[in-house]
């Protein structure tokens, strides 16, 4: 009975599956995951950042940047959007070898692959946000 249920599950999954998995090269390779799993995984990183500190991460998504006028700092992010583009999840990143913005960065919305070390940056208000440090960014 269990084999029948498993076979049905896999048959359904085969209809929709996008990419096969790869070999483990990172602590967490989000680029291998489906959109739904990425959302869940990134949510975990945001909710429980201490579990992921120092882990080497690889993710793919779309490039996004934002300039904070108060901090006078530009943030770069790798964002994953869902079908309705309303439930986006993403992580900020900081390149190991800084580049000039905007000349040496991809255009907003371009597909990118980012890998680096997970960190949590605390802000003055007592909050904070997760960020990938020492990152390497490639356009797809």
């Amino acid at each position: 009975m269990f084999k029948v249920v498993l076979a049905v599950l896999l048959a359904f999954a085969a209809l929709f599956a996008k990419e096969p998995g790869g070999k483990e090269k990172y602590d967490i390779d989000i680029s291998r995951m489906s959109g739904t799993m990425v959302y869940g995984q990134v949510n975990q990183m945001i909710m429980y950042p201490s579990k992921y500190l120092g882990k080497h991460i690889k993710m793919k998504g779309i490039f996004s940047s934002y300039y904070d006028e108060q901090l006078e700092r530009r943030f770069y992010g790798c964002v994953i959007q869902d079908a309705l583009a309303c439930c986006s999840q993403g992580l900020a990143f900081e390149l190991a070898k800084p580049r000039k913005y905007p000349e040496q960065y991809p255009a907003e919305g371009d597909a990118i692959i980012v890998e680096g070390d997970f960190d949590y940056e605390k802000d003055e208000g007592g909050g904070g946000f997760p960020i990938i440090r020492n990152a390497d960014m490639q356009t797809k």
């Binding site: 249920v5 359904f12 929709f16 599956a17 998995g21 959302y39 995984q41 909710m47 309303c86």
Partner: protein, 283 residues
């Protein structure tokens, strides 16, 4: 196939995926059990109405910045369920009209409050997640999983303990009353359980799709099986299997969890409908 198995096994290593499967199975099991009663009592659409009420309550909780929003959502939804299911024939606004009024009213007020008293930078994201349950099942905290397990056990226990009374009230409330069953108390109990299930199911499929969990498995089972017991058991099995298929396909293929589960329920309904046609039972 081996690649899919490897991928599935890789995903199952993540605790949040295991939580989603546990909660998905429990919620679909509970909703299908009560679904049979609700469909037979002509209250198929109550799931939709109550989930919109829960959405309205969630908006109020967000505006009031209540950390544990369940403290507000659950009592409000239970209260409305009791009003809708227990006022019965004495109500001035009855049945489908009352459900429709409550449903759209709560949805509108909820969305209005979220916009006017915005507490989040991503209102459309919050609304979208609540209405379609895009991925909320994969963002559950362990406390929420424990709460869901406890409430599901309570629902299952009540259903099993009072199975005969629920059966009597479902088919003929007047006859049940004449034979000494306290129909008011049991209608109240059903209303409370329905509200609890709806609130739990919102995490799984979202407010707009909750009705599917209540209606589809029961209607599928009714195509082929005829006794109350057989329909209830078949409905539970169909619901759990469809939820499992939906969750697995959603995480493997990256589709939204709620709508994938409902799609699986629709396929199951088509399958059971075809079986009933082959058996010559007609529509």
């Amino acid at each position: 196939m081996p690649e899919l198995l490897e991928k599935l096994s890789f995903y199952l290593d993540f605790p949040f995926v295991r939580y989603a499967i546990i909660v998905g199975v429990l919620v679909s099991l509970c909703s299908s059990l009560l679904g049979v009663t609700l469909v037979l009592k002509r209250y198929s659409y109550i799931g939709d109405g109550l989930s919109h009420v829960a959405f309205g309550a969630l908006s109020i909780a967000a505006v009031l910045k209540i950390t544990n929003n369940m403290l507000l959502i659950l009592p409000v939804t239970v209260a409305v369920a009791v009003l809708l299911l227990c006022t019965g024939k004495n109500a001035r606004i009855k049945g489908d009209a009352a459900i429709a009024m409550v449903s759209v009213g709560a949805l509108a007020i909820g969305y209005l409050l979220m916009n006017v008293f915005s507490t989040s930078a991503n209102i459309s994201g919050d609304v979208c997640t609540t209405l379609f349950g895009s991925t909320s099942i994969l963002t559950l905290r362990i406390e929420e999983v424990y709460l869901c397990v406890a409430l599901s056990i309570a629902v299952l226990a009540v259903f099993i303990l009072f199975y005969h009374k629920i059966f009597a009230i479902t088919f003929d409330e007047n006859f049940a009353q004449a034979t000494g069953v306290n129909t008011t108390i049991f209608n109240l109990l059903i209303a409370v359980i329905v509200a609890v299930i709806i609130v739990l199911a919102m995490n799984l499929v979202g407010a707009l799709l909750v009705s599917a969990l209540v209606v589809f498995p029961s209607l599928s089972a009714m195509r082929v099986f005829k006794s109350f017991f057989a329909v209830t058991v078949a409905s539970a099995v169909i619901s759990v299997v469809c939820s499992l298929i939906g969750i697995v396909v959603a995480i493997l293929a990256g589709t939204p969890v709620g709508s994938t589960i409902v799609a699986a329920d629709i396929v199951a309904f088509g399958l059971f409908y075809s079986i009933s046609l082959i058996q010559g039972r007609g529509v």
